[in-house]
């Protein structure tokens, strides 16, 4: 059963990668699929505890990688910099588990350390055609290089570490095509927020998404990573973009990518991955790229989006009673009045970071807005990895941020999930480049508005939600 016959029917990219990994297909229910890579962070400790309790060992440590991110301090690189003793214990426990499993890891002081979803692509660990898991929902990020990548829980994580496989039901497929080109000041984050606003937080439930169309093809890998990152916010199992020359150029020479003769073999395989002409998707969605404006969220779900030129919605205008209630509840939590122009909403703080928007291009886009300007509210930048931080410093971006009054921190998840001691205070309103505006996500009673790095920089210098296009010359 290992080699399923290749049917002549046109297949989607998802189908090709999936079929290649099926070890056991049962008549009904989940298939046993091979998992190429599992990436580990501090939160994976439950899976290790379970492994030890059951007497299992890590079956293929060479296919695993670890890096601490959720709990790491951003003020320094010593375990002693951790905000509390308990947080320090999480980082130490991570190191112990990596030693126990014989797993290669990029620890706190390693120049390769960073957020799991930034480090994977950056190191060439993430490659086209692979199946990649991590006990983190934003694992969908890695699909930007043409991999099937999805978040798993700790039970599944243990299963992967012990067997290098997983029982998975095959999801349905959805293609989201973005036509045309994006306007100036409009970034990948705006595109994905517009998509989630259109299809809803449950809109891609049970589906694997393929992002396609000219606007996506024209994107850099870093932009594609931003798009795929938030697939989970539309409830998708995973998000993918077909590998192309942009992908190959990005990967060439990365530390864990194939090299020499193997590189040529790999590229030949990868070229066969894109969806065949005529392949059918279970669901198709289309958006016009040029019609997308810079977006912000106003509520407590990533589907609560509006163009910055819009207004805080009125619950009375919601399509049904359920939505009326959820909108009213969200506005109450957010402390917003229906009908207020979004560009009038004053903010208290800015966070630029997270696996959605903390890569070099993100920092460049924010710095472009900040050059020669000053933040009027507290603001900080947390690079997605130590490599990103160093690359940004090499081109002087840290100076731009510092001169604008931003704090320039060490890399990690930081204020995205508020697990390391960096958090937004109760009732404070934060312009954030992260991916979740959930109740309490950035700290108890914190209010989050999601947006692109350029928009967050614009908010920092005006102290309110701001159309970045006004600040670009």
């Amino acid at each position: 059963m290992a080699n399923l016959p290749h049917s002549a029917a046109p297949r989607t990219m998802f189908d090709k990668v999936w079929d290649r990994h099926v070890i056991v297909a049962r008549d009904e229910g989940p298939s046993l699929i091979y998992i190429d890579r599992d990436i580990i962070h501090e939160g994976s400790f439950h899976a290790f505890a379970d492994m030890k309790r059951r007497g299992y060992s890590v079956r293929r440590p060479r296919q695993m990688f670890g890096t601490p991110d959720h709990y790491v301090p951003t003020t320094g690189r010593e375990i002693g910099d951790a905000a509390t003793a308990e947080i320090a214990r999480m980082i130490r426990q991570f190191d112990e588990n990596m030693d126990w499993g014989g797993i290669r890891s990029f620890r706190l002081r390693d120049p390769r350390q960073g957020i799991v979803h930034v480090v994977g692509p950056e190191q060439g660990i993430t490659l086209p055609g692979l199946t990649i898991v991590c006990s983190d929902s934003h694992t969908s990020t890695h699909g930007a290089l043409g991999a099937i990548a999805f978040g798993i829980g700790q039970s599944e994580n243990m299963h992967v570490m012990a067997t290098q496989t997983l029982w998975q039901a095959r999801p349905k497929t959805m293609r989201i095509s973005v036509s045309g080109t994006l306007a100036r000041g409009v970034h990948a984050k705006d595109v994905i927020l517009a998509i989630i606003g259109k299809i809803g937080a449950g809109g891609a439930g049970g589906h694997a998404i393929e992002y396609a169309g000219p606007a996506v093809r024209a994107m850099s890998i870093e932009q594609r990573l931003t798009i795929c990152n938030m697939s989970i916010e539309a409830a998708a199992r995973c998000g993918m973009v077909a590998p192309d020359d942009t992908t190959f150029q990005y990967l060439h020479g990365r530390p864990f990518a194939p090299s020499g003769e193997e590189w040529d073999r790999a590229v030949a395989q990868w070229r066969a991955l894109p969806t065949d002409d005529g392949a059918r998707f279970d669901t198709e969605v289309a958006l016009e790229g040029h019609a997308i404006a810079p977006m912000v969220t106003w509520g407590t779900s990533p589907e609560d989006t509006a163009p910055i030129t819009g207004h805080v919605p009125d619950p009375a205008g919601a399509p049904d009673a359920g939505r009326r209630e959820s909108t009213a509840k969200a506005l109450n939590y957010m402390g917003l009045t229906p009908g207020t122009p979004l560009a009038d909403v004053a903010i208290d703080r800015v966070f630029i970071g997270s696996c959605t928007n903390s890569r070099l291009e993100d920092l460049r886009a924010a710095a472009e807005v900040l050059r020669g300007r000053k933040a009027v509210v507290p603001a900080m930048v947390v690079p997605g990895s130590t490599s990103v931080k160093r690359a940004a410093e090499a081109e002087g971006l840290d100076r731009v941020f510092r001169e604008a009054g931003f704090e320039w921190r060490e890399s990690g998840c930081s204020m995205c999930a508020a697990m390391n001691g960096d958090f937004v205070k109760p009732q404070e309103r934060c312009a954030s480049t992260s991916n979740r505006n959930f109740i309490g996500r950035q700290g108890p009673n914190a209010r989050t508005h999601l947006m692109s790095p350029a928009m967050a920089a614009a908010a920092a210098v005006t102290g309110r939600l701001t159309d970045v296009r006004r600040l670009l010359n």
Binding site: M1, A2, N3, I23, V24, R26, E28, G29, P30, L32, Y34, D36, R37, G43, H46, A49, R60, R62, Q63, Y71, E86, R89, M90, L127, G129, D136, S137, I152, G153, Q154, S155, E156, H159, A162, T163, Q164, T165, A201, G202, G205, A235, A236, F256, E262, A266, Q269, S301, E303, G322, S326, K329, A417, A418, M419, R436, F438, I439, G440, R441, P444
Partner: protein, 203 residues
């Protein structure tokens, strides 16, 4: 995992569309070892004030709902973070079944692995069930995994749609890894051929 065959139990409606796992268990509790139990963290910030007092308006703080073993939720319950802590919190609090129109994908999988039965029913049926439960405190719901049926307080029965593979695991209290071991030979055979094609992933 405790086997689950069937159960008749008190149910509580939990309001909120897209109720994410950050709300089921806030991130700050994820540091803790499971051995101390996760039940106390369930819906923590919805259940308790910052001072640690119960919020009387939250349904699981009210009689008889605080004893509920089945929760009836709105769409996309358990979306967001993959934290299995959300399922630990439900299980350790004594919840054995969750009925809703749809669930976050990872949450759904995590539930199956812990013997928490997730039941998807059509939206209108779930909505009216939530109303019934509010109007008749103490009403019970039957989840019968063996017969693949859910019986509601109004006497109606509905098919419990669940993958036969997971149904068997939950009914026997079996961990799927036991089954996977029996396929180890297939896995090795697959791997030998596969890694010849893609040797670079194993360096």
């Amino acid at each position: 995992m405790t086997p689950f065959v069937k159960m008749t139990a008190l149910a509580a409606p939990i309001p909120g569309r897209n109720l994410d796992t950050d709300q089921i268990i806030p991130a700050r509790f994820l540091k803790f070892d499971r051995s101390g139990g996760y039940g106390q963290f369930l819906f923590h910030d919805l259940r308790f004030t910052p001072e640690g007092q119960e919020r009387p308006e939250f349904i699981l703080n009210r009689e008889p709902y605080r004893h509920a073993k089945v929760l009836v939720t709105e769409e996309n319950f358990g979306c967001g973070s993959s934290r299995e802590g959300a399922v630990y919190a439900l299980c350790d609090h004594g919840v054995r079944g969750v009925i809703g129109p749809s669930f976050g994908d990872i949450f759904y999988n995590n539930a199956l692995k812990n013997g928490l039965v997730p039941v998807r029913l059509p939206e209108d049926i779930v909505a009216s069930l939530r109303e019934t439960l509010m109007a008749t405190p103490g009403a019970e719901v039957e989840i019968d995994l063996e017969a693949r049926i859910v019986r509601l307080p109004d006497g109606s029965s509905h098919e419990l749609e669940i993958d036969p593979f997971w149904r068997e695991c939950i009914m026997k209290g079996l961990d799927e890894i036991e089954l996977t071991w029996s396929y180890m030979e297939d896995i090795r055979r697959f791997e030998d051929a596969y890694l010849k094609d893609i040797p670079w992933i194993n360096r």
